[in-house]
């Protein structure tokens, strides 16, 4: 298909594919707070039998300025990414794609999480929040006698 080759690295096809992939993960009804697609920071959420793992892709943020809040099963990540220092009249901005300003993302967590067992660390521009699940909710092997 000729038209595809006109675009660098097939950006549009790639975007389409990404959209579909995300939709595929979301065939259930989305949260009332929306999916926040394209927001900053991008979020990945994973789960294990013993924890919920949240990854916020927030490069270039002062970790002391990131506010992580857990309230009634809703995890809120907010903060600010400082805009670039303004240049003088001799500087020219050719591309300006990176996000700056205040951000806030909200994640609904499963009901069985333990709000007292949360850890968060920031590394290589990714905020990783790990929330333990209550022991009762974890699958147990039940012995049959």
């Amino acid at each position: 298909m000729l038209y595809r080759r006109l675009f660098p690295s097939d950006v549009f096809a790639e975007f389409d594919r990404l959209q579909r992939e995300v939709q595929g993960l979301f065939d259930y009804a989305p949260s009332i707070r929306g999916l926040g697609r394209g927001g900053y920071p991008a979020l990945n959420v994973g789960s294990t039998p013993s924890s919920v793992e949240v990854y916020a892709f927030a490069p270039g943020v002062d970790p002391a300025g990131i506010d992580v809040n857990l309230d009634r099963g809703v995890l809120t990540i907010s903060g600010e990414r400082k805009p670039r220092a303004p240049g003088d009249e001799k500087t020219t901005v050719h591309m300006d794609e990176r996000f700056s300003g205040r951000f806030r993302r909200v994640v609904n967590l499963p009901e069985d999480i333990d709000p007292n067992a949360v850890s968060a660390d920031y590394r290589d521009g990714v905020l990783h929040v790990s929330i333990a699940r209550r022991a009762a909710a974890q699958p147990r092997r039940i012995e049959v006698h």
Binding site: F7, T48, F57, R98, V107, V126
Partner: protein, 128 residues
């Protein structure tokens, strides 16, 4: 300054055959002595960044490494690929031998100085 002087993003024929990758957002700022390129590469440790200049191409390739516990299953994913890739074409007044870069907290900052002869000179305009 004309269009040919800018680092351009290119779609080389071989990119289609490569593994799919995310296109990192960038800022490109030019001043009197060179160009600064800033790219967001969250999740990339220093040893997974591959930044190279080949001819007039500046290529960024990087791999995301996340600390994932055993058996983690995705519930929601906005970052669905674990690789970044983006290529720019440098113009000949930029000095590719003097490119310097730093990666801090997932932000890559690349400085490409202009060659000495390409630094701006003031050209006086004759008024007749």
């Amino acid at each position: 300054m004309n269009m040919n002087d800018l680092p351009r993003q290119t779609g080389r024929a071989d990119t289609a055959r490569q593994e799919p990758a995310l296109l990192p957002p960038v800022d490109v700022i030019e001043d009197a002595t060179g160009i600064t390129l800033v790219a967001d590469l969250p999740g990339v440790p220093r040893d997974r960044l591959n930044l190279r200049v080949e001819g007039d191409q500046l290529a960024i390739e990087a791999e995301v490494m996340l600390p994932a516990p055993e058996g983690v299953e995705p519930l929601h994913a906005e970052v669905t690929l674990s690789r970044y890739r983006r290529t720019f074409t440098l113009s000949k007044e930029l000095d590719a031998d003097l490119v310097s870069a730093e990666l801090e907290q997932g932000v890559l900052r690349v400085r490409i100085p202009k060659a000495q002869h390409a630094q701006p000179r003031r050209i006086s305009v004759q008024v007749r």
